[in-house]
Amino acid sequence: MRRVLALPGLWLALFLAVPFGIVLAMSFATADADRAPPVAFSLTLKNYALLFSDPLYLAAWIASLRIAATSTLVALLLGYPMALAIARAPRRRQPLLLALVILPFWTSFLIRVYAWMGLLADNGILNNLLKTLGLASAPGTILGTEWAVHLGIVYAYLPFMVLPIYAVLERQDRALLEAAADLGAAPWAAFVTITLPLSQPGIVAGCLLVFIPSVGEFVIPDLLGGTGTPMIGKVLWDEFFLNADWPLASAVAVCLLALLAVPIALFQRHHAERLR
């Protein structure tokens, strides 16, 4: 029994703590192109110093947080009504609606992002459609802008917003809404005073599930975004593969993790308080 309980701990140590230890150690090392891997171990803070002094990195951080935040907000505004509609649908139709939300996962993430390139290109399906309908005269540029990045992130992560909110709404006691109506609450007032506050755990979970991977997202800004301000995931990729500066890339990764630990910790504390 004891050994069975120790297994998850071993798992965590082997696949989380050890790799992270390597990354952490590497972030204090120096790049050395003549070695393989191109790292000379040392104990220097210059990688971090560079991250906090070069405005390029700061701009990338800010752009990542901003894009992730707006995408999360848009995903929430789209996802909440979807989750509510599924939760209020007849019970026997709910599995089908949920399957539709999850259906995109049956296709590779990369292929779906490529598909958006075809849709959004200057001579792509969207522009041609607008032209045919007479809604646009000259093709507008969407691909390669921040609009496309937002669109891609919202599209890719929307199910992660819908599912936790649905899970909370589906469990809600319908008698509570009847009680609210009985006490004089019009449907909108009942939603704001009962449904919405009681779905808060689902909202928080959904927002974290969308926000956290969005901040470090690499594929979507790389394929749909332009040459303007890169997101931090792209910076990490470039440092690692283009500049072969593994220590700097490691420092970026450590900072990313530290940054994302803050909202997770806040969520945990909030959750613990609710249970009390």
Binding site: D173, A175, L176, E178, A179, A180, A181, D182, L183, G184, A185, A186, A189, A190, T193, I194, P197, L198
Partner: protein
Amino acid sequence: MSGALLEVRSVAKSFGPVRAVADVSFEVARGEVFALLGGSGCGKTTLLRMLAGFERPDRGQILLDGADLADSPPHRRPINLMFQNHALFPHLSVRDNVAYGLRREGVAGAELARRTEEALALVRLEGLDARKPAQLSGGQRQRVALARALVKRPKLLLLDEPLSALDARLREETRAELLRLQRELGLAFLIVTHDQQEAMSMADRLAVMHDGGFMQVGTPRDVYARPATRHVAIFLGNANLLPAPADAAGRPGWLVLRPERIAISRVATGAGAVGAHIEDVAFEGDRTLLVARTDAGVALRIASAEPGWARGEPVFLAWDAAALHRVSA
């Protein structure tokens, strides 16, 4: 305007092919306690939900103080419902639960505080106002539900199985409490229940429902003493049903004999006494329920104030002719 507070006229409701309520009419007077009594699936809950506004009748009218409620959604009806499982808002404190209905009316400030305080005092919940529903006992939750439903001073309070969630001791207390408030506030109560004791002990009048319709309406004592059908006789308390000779029109019939109307003794007392022996004894404290089989082979249930009966004991049974009530359906 008639004297009735609530008038239900020929109301019917079906769900697809299932007829839940079929052509029901009744009135509830001001200050009256009226109970709808029936087993599960008899239509009492559908009727309650139509009164609260959660379901629309297919046919018929519901009038409150003479005004038709057909087009009022639940949030505009001067009727409040105390839900069976209380349906307290888990994220709100006791105070906010009680104040909820007033806030929706736009009551605020000192007026809100005063009326909320009043309602809390009414059900003796002062001091618990900051707690969340999860931190309360079953009886306390019941009182919050009551305060929340009463705070808006409804003309009619609907109560869905008000005592069924409570244990035996709390039931008595709560029943007395509910009736005290009902008298003090001059409210009309409409109670929906499957529990005949709950209905009989609280109601001024009750209706026994079966298959979506009313089988009988009357005061509890009247319906108990003179049930209209076999079903009512069995549903309302214990009853022995004895086959009766056909009436003048040739219809078969049954005689209802209540267990407490049978006199039981160890010696034959009168000419009409019937020999029997005891088959089963259930001691219930204030009374003992017996099953005795007569020498003619008929099993009868008997309620006796005496506790000392033994299984297999030979006894004599007797009853007045007035204790027999004939039903033909």
